[in-house]
Symmetry: C2
Subunit: 466 residues, 2 copies
């Protein structure tokens, strides 16, 4: 197992700097930890309190009777070294240093000092300058961010604090399932590669999403990321991917975001998917977290609006995916129930006259057809159908076809009712998007991952032969 096993599956967590004052970080972290349902031992450390939120407090780490696997530290920076010494003596394995005021404000010396102490005791540091971490399989929400993170398959690593915590809220709003959220901050010790080593083997994680400004050890990142992409997709939002952005990143973290071209080559070599925007990164992650990979490239698009079909065809083509005619067996099946003027090319355009029942039949036929490998379903809200009705037809069709055995993404385009339909599909783990281009982009990412993985496989085989 990875060295980080005890960070994500600790038997006990101490919160050093636990506070009685709502709004304080030391209070919010403790409250999230308790209320999110962590079942191991929780030890608040605060010399001035007997108990906080109903949990017994300890004056110091050393005063805690049991073993401490993880110590979360939220005290002023200058006191951190002292607490680390204590943690070391106590035999703590992982210290999660939320406190800021280190390298990111030029305080390199203090950061070096805490690294030195941790090394001396064989402790690993997450942080400093972070908002904490989440691991839903162990019911850990040790952050001062939103509480009700939805369990699921996405592991999200973020180098940015404020943006990361805000995106944490976005995952809840969008109904996205999370295995882990890890704020890495200054990466004084634990960095992306360490986390990838854990998530690669973690069966609760289906896809890893990294918001990255820079890496500490590029060579190691490439090696570990390549190994990870063989098992599951890794998506990176590389912030500071322009010279101007890199400069802005440098002024923000104190770390150089590095030469952009070098990063892009590294991502290419390790099979990492690069997302330009937060939105597309999360759109892709949602698809990967819920869908199986396709067995082949026979992609079928089903629509009730020609325009939505054209936009999808364009987006796919821009991503190197050209649609072939649908299998004859599928066209023959669908011909039976669609209007005579429907188009049985690809996209299959059932026309604006398409009913909820036609959606049911078409989706089920495509799901069950062995000559179809993947499906994009587009629906424009028309006066003769109800978006929630169409969503429920799609869900029923998938169930009746034996489950989502091939990747399917949906776009439901319209107003309030369309938003409700997207929510319904989301709850049923069918990735749904408000525009056709976003659905197409998610499907394209799936095929791109397969291609990248193939290239990584080949490269590793060639390296072995040398």
């Amino acid at each position: 197992m990875s060295e980080l096993r005890d960070l994500f599956n600790p038997r006990s967590i101490a919160v050093v700097g636990a506070s009685r004052t709502p709004g304080k970080i030391g209070y919010e972290v403790l409250r999230n930890l308790i209320e999110y349902g962590y079942e191991g031992a929780i030890y608040p450390v605060n010399p001035k309190a007997n108990e906080i939120l109903g949990v017994k407090c300890y004056p110091s780490l050393l005063a805690i009777p049991g073993e401490v696997d993880v110590a979360i530290i939220s005290i002023p920076a200058k006191f951190v070294p002292e607490v680390l010494e204590e943690a070391g003596k106590k035999g703590v394995k992982h210290v999660v240093i939320i406190t800021s005021g280190f390298k990111e404000i030029g305080n390199v010396e203090l950061e070096n000092k805490i690294v030195e102490i941790a090394k001396r005791y064989g402790m690993r540091i997450l942080g400093p300058n972070i908002f904490g971490y989440v691991y839903t399989p162990a019911k850990i929400n040790a952050t001062f961010g939103p509480r009700d993170v939805i369990p699921g398959g996405i592991a999200f690593i973020t180098q940015s604090g404020a943006l990361g915590i805000a995106l944490m809220g976005m995952t809840i709003l969008k109904g996205m399932g999370i295995s882990a959220i890890v704020s890495v901050g200054n990466k004084a010790d634990i960095e992306d590669a360490d986390l990838l080593e854990f998530f690669e083997k973690d069966d609760n994680t289906k896809v890893v999403l990294i918001y990255m400004e820079g890496v500490v050890n590029g060579r190691r990142f490439v090696k570990v990321a390549a190994k990870t992409t063989l098992r599951k997709p890794v998506i990176v939002i590389k912030s500071g991917r322009t010279e101007a952005g890199a400069k802005a990143a440098a002024s923000h973290t104190g770390a150089l975001a590095g030469n952009v071209a070098i990063y892009m080559t590294a991502f290419q070599q390790s099979g990492v998917l690069v997302a330009k925007t937060v939105e597309e990164a999360f759109d892709w992650a949602k698809a990967f977290s819920w869908l199986p990979l396709p067995k082949g490239d026979r992609l079928v698009v089903i629509t009730n609006g020609g325009g939505a079909g054209v936009q999808t065809t364009d987006t796919l083509a821009e991503n190197g995916i050209l649609l072939n005619p649908p299998p004859e067996s599928l066209a023959n099946e669908i011909r039976k129930f669609v209007p005579p003027f429907a188009s049985l090319a690809n996209p299959i355009d059932m026309t604006g006259m398409a009913t909820e029942d036609m959606y049911y039949k078409a989706v089920r036929a495509a799901m069950e057809n062995p000559e179809v490998d993947s499906i994009i379903i587009l629906y424009c809200h028309t006066v003769i159908t109800d978006p929630v009705g169409v969503a429920s037809a799609i869900i029923r069709a998938s169930k009746d076809a034996g489950g989502v055995t091939k990747p399917v993404v949906v776009s439901i385009i319209g107003g309030r009712e369309a938003a409700d339909a997207i929510k319904m599909l989301t709850q049923n783990k069918i990735p749904a998007y408000p525009t056709p281009e976003r659905a197409a982009s998610a499907m394209a990412a799936i095929y791109k991952y397969i291609k990248l993985r193939e290239q990584v496989k080949l490269r590793l085989q060639q390296l072995e032969k040398l």
Copy 2:
């Protein structure tokens, strides 16, 4: 005035094929027309009814006592020529043919026939094969789409029916203000250029958004679009912009989407902004509809999250916009109230410690500073602030600074509360987006428009000299 004046400001509208049956197009169009509040005369035409929805019916167009400026036609295709003859005799100026079953299904002859009849009587045709049209200043919603279109400055022309009607719903969901929605369908007569001629002079329209698969007369489009962009921005979603997409479009409308490169040259020459996705087109249109244009290029970014700032810097750089340091007068002002470790570069990073009051002060200072031409405000939901509170601080700051006198776009990143804050800003006509990249892209579109307009101006001046 443009020839289409009476289409958008008719004194009377007849609905031929008005129906008593809810769900039928002839019912839905009439109901929308009545309930959206059109104040001119409404004449339902149906030989089998005395009244529908409380409005007196007429057996034919010729039986209507008063003049008819617009006749909306929703009867089977084969009966359309006959009704057009009647309309011609009645002196109808514009016929809006909702009916489908013409060129789009290969029925070219029937389409030629209706064009011939209309020409003979000097009538203009909108359609056929459309969902109707909306013009909010005249309280006209003559569509079978959603009813409660929000009045505002965006004119939306769509060649796609199902997609167009679905996007109509989306504008309501997103709180976007509409001057007109025009479904152009087969463009048998009225095409984009005719509509641009009207919208160019229409003071209710601030920006024109076109979903286009192809144009009938490219040369005329370029000429009219160039003239329009001198007065207001024109955004085009060119569907069928890849060879594969163009083929899909051809099978959908029966019209060739044409050579992609030729279109792109035409758009460039006419100063049209090309959007790749529905989402970015609407994001840009929202900004143009509410904001003044900037007087110069001194753009300032204000954030509480470094990461959001970097993503914005990247997106701007990718659009050719490089940020300069903020004016010293602004930096000095903001320095007074932000934490000491805040960054007064550009982006101005007030850090995660930024309060609602700091947002108020910073936004007001930037709004009032004569050395600032435009502002991007980024906010990541943090534990110490409330997104709605920040939104309200931004709104108050703009008001107290004398209104939105320079372009300002906002990104509010987070969960449910962030969505509420975006709604609040939207209601106050401040464009707000859920991710930093979308806000940056909207601001970049504003600067791109100014540049394109300058190029068009130069080209027209050179042509005059020849």
